[in-house]
Symmetry: C2
Subunit: 423 residues, 2 copies
């Protein structure tokens, strides 16, 4: 038991130890935790026939925690979900549509979001305040409610506990692959599941929350404990990815706990708290990395670790500056070991850094030591950078602060996708 | 006389009036101000035969003002130039090389920068502290001093007052076009010139100064007045452009005044101060816009104006967030009137904004009024966005703060250029 250990320290110092605390459920899904079902269908918001309406349903009101974008222009559904959660910190039905973000849609947009909530409450026979609503897609266009409302009415027939496939398909926009994970952890001698699903893949530079993330668990945990854990974990997982530096209007991560696992309520004093926390962190990190890897146009996942900063916060700011640099991202796309762009990013991050003591490694290749260039094998570096996972390790040698973050390369396809997204 | 008027207010409120205060010299160049010569040659740092070494020389020590990058990893030549200017706030020889930034090159890099200064002092028979040095190009590689030093020795033979062509060619890296401007203004009944030259075009997100900018004038102005004016003007010109959000290690703007214009010294109490300031502003804005327009891979100049912010500083932060957004830049490249990306950028700028009172115009097309979407003609908008100058006007309706900034679109060519810059 080490309840005081921050997730950040867990992450950096004990990643290998952590993974022994839980196991990955190979065929697991968002509905593996007891009490959850999910489904999806095509109601007509997307031009293709892909699913564009999805739902997660719990057999009883689930303790719920949520984090929302800090973008000032929060989309209407976020307001509605926030109101719902505020009533008793529980949700039973989590509704989502893709193809339209219902953001910057004024009063009509709010009325539409409330109408979606009411329709889902009616369809699933629950109180409106037990329904959360979230949307993703184009900003500034009104929802086609003549498509959405009949779709919601049909949803109950499409809900099942077979897998999360229909739901996961319903939340994708420019994503290429679904992002879903399930782990199992022993709490009080009983199996508990934590599962998650998420979407990216553009306007990804989360601040307090990311584009859509959904976590389900059958853990017996209260809303306050769940919210506290979600806050802590989000800061070092979803908030540590960037695709393009743009923080969306619709970012939200929701965690729902059915409480159906049969043991004493979980909290920081529980002997298995660390295992649960490690498993919860793993689910969040997995989804965050999956979003970064599937960033618009991306061919690679970039992982940046900064050590030796004056604080964890400072390390995080530097990590985000490096993974957000268009020049670093382009160099990775071109497999160019241009570490000068990394050093330039560190230097403009607005953090205290000693310009004489910086070490940089690309994989296991040292390219900078004590701020002086190290001669390295360019061919070996290029070969490393051509892989689909590129790691940069920076040691500032100036303190104990550490952070890890994830991004992706900047490619022709990012430009292609975003030059013609709306039209 | 309106000496208290800030450049920002001059800019926004009196742009048309301003331009009547001075005239553009069509064939003018960096050597049009009395007392200045310039030149350039190819010494062997660039792989092509393009000029890679340039110099501006004044016939006597010129009052000099300079602003430098805030990147922590300032390149060696900046340290040397700063030391030179500190002695008597004068420079007579301003040396520049392209093809190698001499940044992150450790103690050897510093020795090389001092050696360049000493060589130029010897070649032009001036004291070393009257020589400034600046470099641009790849970070982290040592300069080929066996090319640079003979080049400097040859420079005096290549210096002339015909035009700035050789010098302007010598400062380019990935730039496609030279950036040069000259204006004439009447001070005390006498003609005074202000001229400038600059380079971009990647790693452009200046903070206190930009990639290289050189301003010459024959105005009779002291170093303190020139520095104060340069600081004020840089904040609203060079510091208001972004190509890729990356602040370079080598940014510097230098202004040199030969003082050869025959009239009383210029200062804020001089009756023609406003005219001089307007002309100086115009030169800086021209160069800043030219850098943005020639950003790596750019096909368009984007101008963003924000009004109605709580302060000018707040407006500036919002402008920079919009012009720095990869999604906004990609949409402009694709001529997609996707104003949702502008609103998302405003909302994540970290500034106080009322989410209900925002107006947005693209050219003269209103797309958002009081934060509600306005139906507009998509074809007309697309036609406007296909032009080579795209203006976005945002009114937050929340105060008196105003700012204007410039950027460029994000294109396939930006990715191509930066995926293979070094190799």
């Amino acid at each position: 038991m080490c309840t005081g250990l921050s997730v950040n320290k867990l992450l950096i110092q004990g990643k290998r130890t952590m993974s022994s605390l839980f196991e990955i459920v190979e065929q697991g899904s968002i509905v593996s935790p007891r009490g959850f079902k999910a489904g999806g269908l095509h109601c007509g918001l997307k031009k293709t026939t892909r699913n564009d309406l999805g739902v997660i349903v719990c057999e009883r009101p689930a303790h719920t925690a949520a984090v929302y974008t800090l973008n000032i222009f929060q989309a209407a559904p976020l307001k509605v979900t926030r109101e719902s959660v505020a009533v008793e910190q529980k949700l039973q039905v989590m509704l989502v549509n893709s193809g339209n973000a219902n953001a910057c849609t004024g009063e009509q947009g709010e009325r539409d979001a409330y109408a979606m909530r009411d329709a889902a409450a009616a369809a699933f026979s629950v109180e409106p305040h037990l329904v959360g609503v979230t949307s993703t897609g184009v900003i500034g266009e009104l929802l086609k409610m003549d498509k959405v409302l009949p779709g919601i009415a049909n949803l109950p027939q499409h809900v099942h506990n077979r897998d999360g496939e229909d739901f996961c398909q319903a939340i994708l926009t420019t994503d290429l692959v679904k992002k879903e994970i399930c782990v199992r952890v022993q709490i009080g001698g009983q199996s508990v599941h934590i599962a998650g699903a998420a979407k990216g893949s553009g306007m990804i530079h989360p601040n307090m929350a990311t584009m859509l993330g959904f976590i389900t668990t059958d853990a017996n945990i209260g809303g306050a404990e769940l919210q506290s854990l979600l806050n802590e974990v989000t800061d070092v997982t979803f908030n540590m990815i960037t695709v393009d530096g743009d923080t969306s209007t619709n970012d939200m991560v929701v965690a729902m706990a059915s409480g159906l696992a049969p043991y004493e309520p979980l909290n920081e004093r529980h002997p298995d708290w660390t295992a649960f926390k490690a498993a919860f962190y793993y689910v969040s990190e997995y989804l965050a990395k999956a979003i970064a890897r599937d960033g618009e146009g991306a061919t690679k996942l970039i992982e940046v670790e900064v050590r030796g900063a004056i604080s964890d916060e400072s390390a995080r700011a530097i990590v985000k500056t490096i993974i957000g640099s268009s020049l670093v991202k382009s160099a990775v796309f071109g497999a160019d070991a241009n570490w000068g762009r990394i050093i330039a990013a560190i230097g403009r991050a607005g953090q205290p850094v000693n310009p004489l003591t910086v070490d940089i490694r690309m994989g296991d290749i040292v390219v900078l030591h004590q701020s002086a260039p190290v001669v390295f094998d360019e061919d070996k570096a290029a070969a490393y950078l051509k892989g689909d996972l590129v790691k940069f390790e920076v040691n500032l040698n100036g303190g104990e602060g550490v952070a890890v973050g994830w991004g992706c390369d900047l490619t022709y396809d990012y430009v292609r996708i975003n030059a013609a997204y709306r039209t």
